[in-house]
C-alpha cells in the first residue's frame, strides 16, 4: 500500500532465491526426515505441496486485487467455491434423466431472473428519480415471482430423479481441464456483479459486500441439491491424471517402481501427486508470466499510478472505478480458477468444508506475509504459510506437551494439549499482525 511504502534500500537480489530455497528445504525435510517434526513421507510432502500450489494461485488472485488495486476481497472463499462448481458441472458424467426432468426449465428460470435484474437496471436508468426505486422494485419483485415459479417445479423434478445416488443436474462429461477456465468465468461473473455495486464507494463497503456474497455462495452450494448435491457432497469428479489403482495394475509402472526401489502403492501415490504438481506449476508459471507482462505494460503502469494516488490518476483522466472493477474481476477469476483446480485435486465437492477462516483469511495472511504487490512474494507466502498451517496441527500439541512437561498429569495439562491445535489460529493472527506492523512490505517487497 502507498501509505506503508518507504524509500529504503532495494532488497538484495539474492533475497528471493534464498527464501524460496529455504521454503523448498522445508518440503524436502518433510519428505526425507522422519522424526517428531517431520513425517519423512514424500506422499505427505507432496500432498502439502499440491494444496500449497493451489493456495499460491489463490494468493496470486488476491494479490492482484490487493497488491495492485488496494481492494479488500473478504469473500475469497465464495469465489473459490464458485470456481469449484465448474468441474462438477463440466466434467462429471451426465445423470440419466436429469436434464429431461428440468434442465431447460432451470436455464429458463435463471434467464428470467437475470433478465429481470437487467430490466430493473434499465428501468431505473430511464425513469425520473422519484419513480426510480419503486419502479425497479416492482420489476425485481415480478422477476423473482416468475423465477421461483419456473425454478421450483424444475428443481423438485431434478431432485426426485434417483435421489439416493444423484438428484443433481449432472455434468457435461467434458475433459476436466476444460472446467478450469470455466471456473474462472463463474467467479469473474460474480465479481463483476458485486464490484459493479460496491466499488466506487468507500473502501470497506467492498469488503463487507464480498463477505456477504461469500457466505451466500456457500449457502447456495449447501442447499441447492440439484446443482451439486449440496451437503450430500459430489464425489467422483474426474481426474486429469491417472488413478493409483490403474497404475498399480499396469505392469510397465510396476516394473518402473521396482526400478526406483519403492513399493508400488507408495510409488503410484507419489507419481499421481507429481502429475498434479506438474499441472499446477504450469498454471502458476503461466499466471505469473502473464501478470508480470501486464504490469510492465502501459496498463500496469496505470494500475500502479491509480493505487499510489487515486486523485492524481483520476485528474489525469483515468476512470478509477472502472479500472478497479477490471482488476477485481481479473483477480477473482484467478481465485475461481484455483477453486476449480482444488476440486479437481480432491475429486470431491464438499460445500461444508468451505470455512472462511481457512479459505479467505488464511489466504490473506499468505499475501501479506509474502509481500503485497509482488507475485513471487504471494507464491512464497502461500507455500510457506500453508506448510506451517498444516504442520502446526502436529507441532502444536508436541510443543505444548514439551512446555507443560513440568505440570503434573491432570485435567489442565490434558486440556492444554488437546486444545493446542487451536493455537494455530492465534499463531497466524500474530504472524499477520507482526508482519503488518514491522514489515508491511512482506518477505519479498515489491520492487
Amino acid at each position: 500500500m502507498s501509505s506503508t511504502r518507504r524509500a529504503d534500500a532495494p532488497a538484495s537480489p539474492l533475497r528471493a532465491p534464498l527464501l524460496f530455497a529455504a521454503v523448498a528445504l522445508l518440503y524436502v525435510l518433510e519428505g526425507t526426515l522422519s522424526n517428531a517434526w517431520f513425517s519423512g513421507s514424500w506422499n505427505s510432502a507432496l500432498t502439502i505441496l499440491n494444496m500449497g500450489l493451489i493456495s499460491a494461485v489463490t494468493a496470486l488472485g488476491v494479490n492482484m486485487i490487493w497488491g495492485y488495486g488496494g481492494l479488500f476481497n473478504a469473500g475469497v472463499v465464495g469465489f473459490l467455491a464458485l470456481g469449484g462448481l465448474a468441474p462438477v458441472l463440466i466434467a462429471t458424467p451426465a445423470v440419466p434423466g436429469a436434464w429431461a426432468a428440468g434442465g431447460p426449465r432451470v436455464l429458463l428460470a435463471l434467464a428470467a431472473g437475470l433478465g429481470a435484474l437487467a430490466l430493473a437496471a434499465a428501468v431505473a436508468r430511464r425513469t425520473p428519480p422519484v419513480w426510480r426505486v419503486p419502479a425497479a422494485a416492482v420489476v425485481v419483485l415480478a422477476g423473482y415471482v416468475l423465477f421461483r415459479a419456473v425454478l421450483d417445479p424444475a428443481v423438485a423434478a431434478i431432485e426426485s430423479n434417483n435421489p439416493a445416488k444423484a438428484g443433481n443436474i449432472g455434468g457435461l462429461g467434458l475433459p476436466v481441464l476444460l472446467s478450469w477456465p470455466v471456473g474462472a468465468l463463474f467467479a469473474a461473473a460474480a465479481a463483476w456483479a458485486v464490484g459493479k455495486v460496491a466499488l466506487g464507494l468507500r473502501s470497506d463497503y467492498l469488503a463487507i459486500a464480498t463477505l456477504g456474497i461469500g457466505e451466500i455462495i456457500i449457502a447456495v452450494l449447501k442447499n441447492e441439491g440439484w446443482l451439486a448435491r449440496g451437503v450430500l457432497n459430489m464425489t467422483g469428479v474426474p481426474r486429469p491424471v491417472p488413478y493409483e489403482l490403474d497404475l498399480q495394475a499396469d505392469p510397465a509402472f510396476v516394473a518402473r517402481a521396482a526400478g526406483w526401489g519403492m513399493d508400488v502403492a507408495t510409488a503410484s501415490g507419489i507419481w499421481v501427486k507429481l502429475c498434479y504438481a506438474g499441472l499446477f506449476v504450469v498454471v502458476l508459471v503461466a499466471l505469473i508470466a502473464l501478470s508480470e507482462l501486464a504490469l510492465r505494460s502501459p496498463w500496469g503502469r496505470m494500475m500502479r499510478a491509480i493505487r499510489d494516488n487515486e486523485i492524481a490518476a483520476s485528474a489525469m483522466g483515468k476512470d478509477v472505478t472502472r479500472r478497479h472493477l477490471q482488476l477485481f474481476v481479473i483477480g477473482s477469476a484467478v481465485i475461481g480458477l484455483a477453486g476449480a483446480m482444488m476440486i479437481t485435486l480432491d475429486g470431491l465437492m464438499a460445500p461444508g468444508g468451505y470455512n472462511p477462516l481457512r479459505y479467505t483469511f488464511l489466504i490473506w495472511v499468505m499475501v501479506i506475509v509474502g509481500g503485497s504487490g509482488n507475485n513471487w512474494g504471494a507464491v512464497l507466502g502461500a507455500l510457506l504459510i500453508w506448510f506451517l498451517w498444516i504442520k502446526a496441527e502436529v507441532w502444536g500439541p508436541a510443543a505444548m506437551a514439551l512446555l507443560t512437561a513440568p505440570l503434573p498429569d491432570g485435567p489442565i495439562r490434558t486440556h492444554l494439549i488437546d486444545s493446542a491445535p487451536q493455537m494455530r489460529f492465534i499463531a497466524m493472527g500474530a504472524v499477520l499482525l507482526l508482519v503488518l506492523r514491522f514489515a508491511p512490505r512482506g518477505l519479498l517487497p515489491e520492487r
Partner: protein, 333 residues
C-alpha cells in the same frame, strides 16, 4: 376469517422473535458504528469479540452454578456479564495498545487498519477456541418462559398459542436500558460530548483540548460492553457456537450501514430493519393466510431459512445502490 388468531400468530412467529433478534443486532451494530465513528474503520474482529466475551460469560456462569449461586428465574449469565465485560474490555484495550495505536499514529489508510482487525479476529477466534472449544453450548438457566403456549391458550381461550421466552424478554429490557444509557451518556455527559465532537471533527476536537487517547479508550470500552451484552443475549436466546458469531458479522455490518455508518440511532433502527426483514421473508405465511380465509397452495415462504443471510446482503446492496450514506445519513467518506 379469524383476525385475532392471525394477529397472535404474527406476534408469536414474527414480531417477538424478530424484536429479540433485532435488539441483539442493534447492540452489535452500535459497537461497530461507534468504532467506525471514532476510529474510522470497519472492525472485522467485532464478531469474535462477541464470541470471546460470551465464552468468558459461560465459564463464569459455570463457576456460579458450581457455587450454587443463581438469580432465581433469571439466567445466571446476567450475574456473570459485568465481570465478563470487564475482562473482555481489558483484552480489547491491550489489543488497542499493541495493534491499533500504531496505525493511528502513522495515520494509515483505513483498509490497512481493517486488515489489522482481521489479524485480531484470528487471535480472538483462537483464544475463544482455546477457552471453550467449537461445540454448541446451551447456557441459559432459570425459568424458560414468561408466558408459555398452554398458559396463553388457557388465559385467552384462543386456538393459536403465544410464547414469550425469558431470554427474549430479557433481551428487550436489557437492550432498551443499554440504548437509553448510551444515548444519555453521549448527549449529557462531558465524556460523551467529547466522543461526539471527536467523531465529528478530529482536528477541532484536538484544538479544544480533548484527549484523543481517552476518547479512543472510552470507545473501546463502550463498544466491548455492547458487544459482549449482544453476544450473551444472542447466546442465551439461541445457543453459543463460536462460528455463528463470525456469521452474524454480516447482518451486523448490514444493520450499521443501513442506518448509516457512524450514526448510533441509525444502528439501532438498522438492526430492527434487518431482523424484521429476515424473519418476515423466511417465515411461512401459510398459517396466517388460512386464518384470514385464504387457501394457499404453497407455504408462502419467500425464502428458505438457509438463505437468511441473503436478506441482509440484499438490503445492504439496495442501500449501497440507492443511498450509500444509509437511512440516517452516516459518514459517506
Amino acid at each position: 376469517m379469524d383476525l385475532l388468531n392471525a394477529l397472535v400468530a404474527i406476534l408469536n412467529f414474527v414480531v417477538i422473535p424478530a424484536s429479540a433478534y433485532g435488539a441483539q443486532l442493534a447492540l452489535g451494530a452500535l459497537g461497530v458504528t461507534l468504532i467506525y465513528g471514532i476510529l474510522r474503520f470497519s472492525n472485522f474482529a467485532h464478531g469474535d469479540t462477541m464470541a470471546f466475551g460470551t465464552g468468558i460469560t459461560i465459564l463464569l456462569t459455570w463457576g456460579l452454578q458450581a457455587l450454587g449461586i443463581s438469580l432465581g428465574p433469571l439466567p445466571s449469565a446476567l450475574l456473570a456479564l459485568p465481570l465478563a465485560i470487564a475482562l473482555t474490555a481489558v483484552l480489547v484495550l491491550v489489543t488497542d495498545r499493541l495493534v491499533y495505536r500504531h496505525y493511528r499514529r502513522v495515520k494509515a489508510a483505513p483498509i490497512v487498519v481493517v486488515m489489522a482487525s482481521v489479524g485480531v479476529m484470528f487471535v480472538m477466534n483462537g483464544l475463544t477456541r482455546l477457552l471453550i472449544g467449537v461445540d454448541e453450548i446451551q447456557f441459559a438457566d432459570g425459568a424458560r418462559f414468561v408466558v408459555s403456549v398452554p398458559q396463553f391458550k388457557a388465559m385467552t381461550g384462543l386456538d393459536e398459542g403465544l410464547a414469550l421466552r425469558t431470554t427474549q424478554a430479557i433481551t428487550l429490557v436489557l437492550t432498551a436500558a443499554a440504548v437509553w444509557a448510551l444515548f444519555a451518556f453521549l448527549n449529557r455527559t462531558r465524556s460523551g460530548k467529547a466522543m461526539r465532537a471527536y467523531a465529528d471533527n478530529e482536528d477541532l476536537a484536538l484544538l479544544s483540548g480533548i484527549d484523543p487517547e481517552r476518547v479512543v479508550r472510552l470507545t473501546w470500552i463502550i463498544a466491548t460492553a455492547l458487544a459482549v451484552t449482544a453476544g450473551v443475549l444472542y447466546g442465551l436466546d439461541k445457543s453459543f457456537k463460536a462460528f455463528n458469531y463470525f456469521q452474524i458479522l454480516l447482518p451486523i455490518f448490514a444493520a450499521a450501514i443501513v442506518g448509516g455508518l457512524g450514526n448510533p440511532l441509525g444502528a439501532v433502527a438498522g438492526g430492527f430493519v434487518i431482523a424484521f426483514s429476515e424473519v418476515a421473508l423466511t417465515y411461512p405465511w401459510k398459517k396466517i393466510a388460512e386464518y384470514l380465509g385464504f387457501e394457499p397452495a404453497s407455504l408462502l415462504q419467500l425464502l428458505s431459512t438457509e438463505y437468511k443471510f441473503a436478506v441482509s446482503f440484499v438490503i445492504l446492496i439496495v442501500v449501497l445502490l440507492v443511498k450509500p450514506t444509509g437511512l440516517f445519513r452516516g459518514k459517506s467518506y
